[in-house]
């Protein structure tokens, strides 16, 4: 019995379905119960959160968590499906500190909000950037420029006249 089945037995109400992702057991979880399931996952010995991925499928968002257990040397994949209108899911920061930046990055580039995250701000792009680039509807034709404000922080605008050199 793999980890996915085990998880389904432990929390039948929260797990929607199980399957395989290539050779890794995959569990589709209800988004409301993610934190509960994650706590169980940690209890099962999956102590390494490898990656948090957000994917925009136009009609929905999927957030995928890849876990690994140092003790059991097993993989586990958790997946949640979110609405496209208001993508929100609980944050795993309290369980895995490493989730902090991974979730911030997902928020920054994909635009999934993680409720309960202590500092959900942009991480790679400057604060004030319009849009989330990895969404499929991100408008690539709008040029956004960054300038430095008085306090040394970045200011985003679409006007590059301060920055660009007149030729």
């Amino acid at each position: 019995m793999n980890a996915a089945e085990e998880l389904k037995q432990a929390l039948p109400a929260s797990v929607v379905s199980t399957g395989m992702q290539v050779e890794k057991p995959l569990v589709l979880v209800k988004k409301e119960d993610l934190l509960e399931v994650a706590a169980k996952v940690k209890e099962m010995g999956f102590d390494h959160l490898s990656v948090v991925t957000g994917v925009d499928y136009v009609d929905r968002f999927e957030v995928i968590y890849n876990f690994f257990s140092y003790g059991k040397k097993e993989n586990l994949v958790l997946k949640v499906v979110l609405d496209h209108e208001a993508p929100e899911v609980g944050s795993l920061t309290s369980l895995w500190k490493g989730a902090d930046w991974l979730e911030r990055e997902t928020y920054d580039l994909v635009g999934v909000r993680f409720t309960g995250h202590p500092n959900l701000t942009r991480i790679l792009l400057p604060e004030g950037w319009k849009g989330h680039p990895l969404r499929k509807d991100y408008d690539m034709s709008v040029e956004q420029f960054v300038t430095i404000g008085e306090d040394g922080e970045d200011i985003v605008s679409t006007d590059g006249s301060n920055l660009l050199r007149r030729k």
């Binding site: 420029f145 960054v146 430095i148 970045d154 660009l164």
Partner: protein, 197 residues
């Protein structure tokens, strides 16, 4: 897939290594400086001063330490033992832009980094030069379709020499530096006023 067996470029002629004392002196640019100053018409003194300063400037270009991305690693390689940019008196990488003459824009200039690169350039005292290295700095290169990358550093600061390559190998850097030295030879007030022609 066969490896490239033919060599189509005609190498630029390899410079002869100076052997006699006179040739060595000539190689430093002193004699040509003096001869050039004598041949010039107009303000001989001014042009001579120009030449001396140009000579000094081209001989001691101190770059500012500002690596941005991949090319910065090759910048380190240029300074290291195998290529040794110190031979041109350029190994003094100054961390403070106030003491630098030359900026290598080595790597991708992202939108977020662009104002800082510009600021760094503005902090450098005159006379100053910029060498744009690698495809990213030249035109945006691999990332020119990206939302976060500036398409060419010459959009924000004037560039003197462009070195293509991704990243260029250290010899290509040195060739770019030599091109800049050639350029500096013809600068100065005399050149600006048309006296050094």
């Amino acid at each position: 897939m066969d490896p490239v067996t033919i060599d189509t470029t005609k190498f630029r002629p390899v410079r002869k290594k100076p052997e006699t004392a006179l040739e060595k002196l000539e190689d430093t640019g002193l004699i040509s400086t003096v001869l050039a100053a004598r041949e010039r018409k107009g303000l001989i003194f001014l042009t001579t001063v120009d030449q001396v300063f140009n000579w000094a400037r081209l001989s001691s270009l101190w770059p500012v330490t500002s690596g941005l991305a991949c090319c910065a690693i090759e910048m380190m390689a240029v300074a290291m033992a195998h290529h040794d940019i110190a031979r041109f008196g350029m190994e003094i990488f100054r961390a403070s832009p106030r003491q630098a003459d030359l900026m290598f824009v080595a790597g991708t200039v992202t939108k977020r980094m662009a104002p800082r690169v510009k600021q760094l350039y503005e902090m450098m005292p005159d006379p100053k030069w910029v060498i744009s290295v690698g495809s990213c700095a030249n035109t945006g290169g691999p990332y020119h379709e990206s939302y976060a990358v500036l398409r060419g550093v010459d959009n924000i600061i004037p560039v003197d020499v462009y070195i293509p390559g991704c990243p260029p190998r250290p010899e290509a850097w040195l060739y770019g530096v030599l091109q800049l030295r050639e350029k500096i030879k013809n600068e100065g007030y005399g050149a600006k006023w048309g006296l050094n022609k």
